[in-house]
Symmetry: C2
Subunit: 389 residues, 2 copies
DNA sequence: CCCAATTTAGTTAAATTAATTAAGTTGGTA
DNA sequence: TACCAACTTAATTAATTTAACTAAATTGGG
């Protein structure tokens, strides 16, 4: 229960101004005041603080509109840096990025199974150390580490509760990394991190609600409402992949029948292709399906189109429940966007109940393979840009 | 974008104190200060205002804990009254209630089809006038009218966009009633109103997220997060009834296949019973199914149990997406709670992915047939108790 | 072309709001 | 009487707002 204090009042306004600058830079103090309804002195005093903190800087003068020229403000992107980690089921990728999401350095390691908690942590530490060594000059400008971890995560504790493909449990990521690097560490589920990253770096402007869905090895999702991740009562919201869409459908790894994931995950698609297409080799991969479809093989195209339809059904269910402003899709399966996306849209258009639901904007992430990594980065930016206590 | 102002600061604290009194009355100023972390002078000054506004009153002195006896505070329930309207597809029910949800007067009218917008509005006006006449002494203590309307509602405008069973569109409920009675009028979808009512009057304490599901003629739902209704980007969140759970399932009135509603709405259950049970009469009603099951007829019991399983699947999907703290069920179908609820719980327990999801509390509304009416009442109480601007 | 009027940008200082801190007062128990 | 909890009052503080100001540009009339 957040009390009404002076601190709250100020942090709310600080956050409003900072986000206005972030989404509308370059922008003048006067323009901020006009758009946010804050008074000019309030804007000036908070901007002054932000400049002192080096989060914001003045740039050139803007064009006059019949009076004194405005001083334009920008986020001082390279004043601070953040380390982002994407800890997937197969590899760990790390980046060093600035406040604008620009990546300066990166590396990654494959995870060899079997693996222990200690080995996993060691790989994380090793890769982060490598990043730090490569750019020693900015070492003291790094404000923290964001980790996007697959599986179920306890955000408060910063531990990975269940990491399915690695077959690990209770990895104290936050504790270990904070001790090693003496930096703030935030850990979050990968799909949720991707959702946050998309809302920060996806160029969506000031969107009020957005869902990001990652379709790859598994199917995960994250919900962003008013710029913040929605976690649910017990931190487990967004398990979109195990939504039942067919009570008599194929068996899923979770034991239930007809989960979305049992239809549209990478392995589910490969399985379906092998079953339906006689000529399919036993070693068939998702990438090969995409290539065959691209080469014009009708049988493979059909598989992908069917995948699009099922995803469309799942998304229609999601739209009817959550009614987000936008849905952004990412993950390996969406590499076949060309074949899948039109069928997703068509299905939503057919099934949605109301005109509003039909109009929900569905796109593929513009951040490509870095969507989750930038999500990891954004896990820390939230602390800097949304200092609502 | 809500600015940080003194008004915000104060209204936040006012709301915190008011809700603390509401959920923990009788409670002393000192106790409020302790539990909310607000300072004693802040609590005293706000309480003073609330007493002047007659929303709160002092009651007896409490027990001393080694010092001066505390003055206990209560919501001054009968200082203000609210009119609640449940405008369903078949009838319109109205109540006059106080701030504690106690109902003082009620009436209802059946809706005869076909009906026009004007006739519908006239019935609403007539019933509300009747309520007002019966208790003229408190007329000037009425603060407003809350309308829980079935179908799709535009909350901002207070119009019913689509009223399916009445076959009406664009009914300007708010505008008409405000003009007629010169009172604040809030209009909301019925399932959402029920959700809000449940969170206010259901005795759940300070629950942070809750979903209410109404299963009757149709299947609707409302989501309450942090004491507020979640509307979604275009006011259409919560269309739980048209969640696809079986892509090859029975056809639904919306045109899609396998919507939850096509399995578990009152008419869907009757239809299934008629198909499955040879001896079922053509005139079979939902009530008769309940009675037969209650009398021990295995065939009917099975129908209800199956209904419970399908609802369970739908709720599992909902839990995985939204992860609410509690789920409350209402509506005509839930009259057969005895047969349905155990199977809902069993299904969730079987299908839920994580231990947390399995533990989601699922109950039937304790408010009975008045759940939606009290929801309509709560539509106005929010304005009084949550004056966050 | 010059200069006064106007417009826009931003700052400063006083007024205001409402919380907090510190120091009572009240009314009880042991 | 000592002490303690439950308030209240007065002074302090933080932060916004109002109003008045400085700064710098455009506009348009003579």
């Amino acid at each position: 229960m957040q009390r009404g204090t002076f601190e709250l009042m100020k942090s709310v306004n600080k956050s409003i101004i900072l986000n206005k600058i972030r989404t509308s830079a370059p922008i003048s103090r006067a323009q901020i005041a006009k758009e946010t309804k804050l008074t000019p002195p309030t804007v000036s005093s908070i901007v002054k603080e932000l400049i002192e903190q080096e989060i914001v800087r003045e740039s050139s003068l803007g064009e006059s509109k019949g009076g004194r020229k405005p001083t334009m403000l920008l986020i001082n992107s390279d004043a601070f840096y953040v380390i982002g980690v994407d800890a997937g089921p197969e590899n760990v990728a790390c980046v060093l990025a600035d406040l604008s999401g620009k990546i300066y350095e990166r590396n990654s390691s494959r995870l060899e199974l079997p693996i222990t908690n200690e080995q996993f942590i060691e790989i994380l530490k090793g890769n982060i150390h490598k990043l730090l060594q490569s750019l020693t000059t900015i070492k003291d400008k790094i404000i923290g580490i964001g980790v996007a971890m697959h599986g179920v995560v306890d955000v408060e504790e910063g531990t990975s509760l269940i990491a399915p493909n690695l077959n690990l449990r209770n990895i104290p990521i936050k504790a270990e990394l904070e001790q090693e690097f003496n930096l703030v560490v935030n850990v979050e589920n990968d799909a949720r991190a991707m959702a946050l990253g998309e809302s920060w770096f996806g160029g969506h402007g000031e969107v009020d609600s957005m869902v990001a869905v990652n379709i790859g090895r598994g199917v995960g999702s994250g919900v962003v409402v008013n710029g913040k991740l929605y976690h649910g009562a017990q931190d487990i919201a967004g398990e979109f992949g195990h939504m039942t869409v067919d009570i008599n459908g194929p068996e899923c790894s979770c034991g239930n029948r007809g989960c979305l994931q049992a239809f549209v995950s990478g392995s589910a698609i490969v399985k379906k292709a092998k079953t339906n297409i006689q000529s399919a080799p036993d070693s068939l991969t998702g990438e090969e399906i995409y290539k065959s479809a691209h080469a014009g093989d009708g049988a493979y195209i059909e598989i992908l189109e069917y995948t699009g339809q099922i995803i469309g059904i799942g998304l229609t269910n999601l739209i009817h429940l959550i009614n987000p402003e936008k849905i952004v899709l990412g993950g390996g399966v969406m590499k076949s966007e060309k074949f899948i996306l039109p069928f997703i849209k068509q299905t939503i258009d057919q099934m949605a109940l109301t005109p509003e639901a039909k109009l929900t904007e569905v796109t593929v992430t513009s951040l490509g393979d870095d969507a989750t990594l930038l999500g990891a980065v954004s896990l820390l930016l939230v602390e800097l840009f949304d200092p609502v206590i």
